[in-house]
Amino acid sequence: MTSNIYIITEMKTRDAIASSAFHCLVHDLPYKNRILKLERRECWTISLDLPDDAARMELGLQLAEKTKLFVNPNKHHYAVRTALTDFDTRLGSSELSIVHVIVTEREDSAGRSALNQLRSLYMIERHIDSISFGFLYTLTIAPAVPDPIGLATEIAQLTDRAHGLLCNPHSQTFNVF
């Protein structure tokens, strides 16, 4: 049986991609006053055949700290999680909705490359079934929005110039949660 562990990295400096995406959403697209904040992180989803959370967490920490594939300590903060739902978003108001969107390339060469390097460079093969890489966007949505998940889905899925930004469905997939 396999379960996932997540290595999540975040820029120590201001994330220019998140700033540009947010600016685009509120100035070029019709989401002003509905989306209040956008954060971006990089998320490595590692599928492991380890039985319990403690063992997975231990291996996840080793991968994050002992290899140079996932975390660059000069520029990243990082966290290792056994689930994405316990992700701390440092909310200021309980009325705001926090919705996450994870965007992954259909041809996930970053994940494949990381797996190959773990096997060839670090000789780590046991317990790791697969690795995928994605961008984890965290949207803070205004209390007045009746369907935050629906709005996040609309923002994620590019359909035309006026709707969607984060995921071009022809080359990427996304998941909202």
């Binding site: 220019a16 540009s20 390339e105 041809e107 590019l158 110039r161 071009n168 080359s171």
Partner: protein, 276 residues
């Protein structure tokens, strides 16, 4: 408009565009006038131009996706209006990515984004690729605005420099329709004109070896190679063009294959003025 009025082309410059001056040089070498047009000028000023070039580079540092932010800007809305009345629009490399992200190309369902220029994924190569490749001018795309001075079947050397140049779509019916229409004007090939889907002939894994795709009307072209970097023979590497050896100064000054994109654009604009 008088047939003899000067032809003016706007070369759109976003933050991060880096090929605007070479593009303007190629436009002027083709006998037109070029003006570098910053993205934040009033979009209505665009209407005075006869045609448009979205130059290569890294608009908005390729943030989110290559071309994704630039495609949302108001200036692209005006470009869509001008393209709809038949004016020619050439998107080179990052410009092609902007055209795809805005839905102008392939444009079979106007307003909808129907494709993506995905990360290079050729067999045996992934990631950024910068080299000279060969293209074949398709017979089917011969009536397009940027093909007029090419001979159908002509094989031309052209440089590519991109990491996201693979034309893809999840709409299999669309790909089939494009493949059998006049929209694919240029395809990657070997020096003898044979199509091979594998690297390095197809440098990015693009479907049907597509290097350039038109909208259905043939006046908007999303083109991944860089014609402005092959506008003079002196830019063509010796190993690609044996006629340069021994290189004479006069030969080096001759127009290269990339200039034909711009002379075709000029011919297309003149044809429009005379109603041909």
């Amino acid at each position: 408009m008088n047939h003899s009025d000067p032809i003016t082309i706007a070369v759109i410059q976003y933050p991060g565009t880096n090929c605007e001056y070479e593009s303007a040089s190629a436009i002027e070498a083709a006998g037109m006038s070029a003006e570098i047009f910053r993205w934040n000028r009033h979009p209505e000023e665009l209407a005075q131009f006869d045609g448009y070039v979205l130059a290569g580079g890294f608009s908005y540092q390729d943030r989110v996706r290559a071309g994704a932010i630039a495609a949302k800007k108001q200036i692209v809305g005006t470009l869509i209006q001008e393209a709809a009345i038949g004016k020619p629009v050439l998107g080179i490399c990052n410009g092609a990515q902007i055209l795809i992200e805005s839905g102008l190309v392939p444009g079979n369902r106007p307003g909808h984004v129907e494709m993506s220029l995905a990360s290079n994924a050729a067999s045996g190569w992934r990631g950024y690729f910068c080299d000279w490749v060969y293209l074949r001018c398709e017979e089917k795309g011969a009536s397009g605005a940027f093909n007029l001075d090419f001979t159908p079947g002509e094989i031309i050397p052209m440089p590519v420099a991109h990491a996201e140049g693979r034309f893809v779509s999840i709409d299999a019916a669309l790909l089939d329709r494009i493949t059998h229409s006049d929209q694919i004007a240029f395809r990657y090939c070997d020096p003898d004109g044979r199509y091979d889907p594998s690297f390095p002939v197809n440098p990015n894994g693009s479907f049907h070896n597509a290097a350039g795709i038109y909208n259905p009307e043939g006046n908007v072209l999303a083109f991944m190679p860089h014609p402005e970097r092959a506008a003079w023979m002196r830019q063509i590497p010796l190993e690609l063009d044996k006629t340069l050896r021994p290189a004479s100064l006069n030969h080096c000054r001759l127009p290269g294959p990339g200039l034909k994109f711009f002379t075709s654009m000029k011919r297309y604009i003149l044809n429009r003025r005379t109603g041909r």
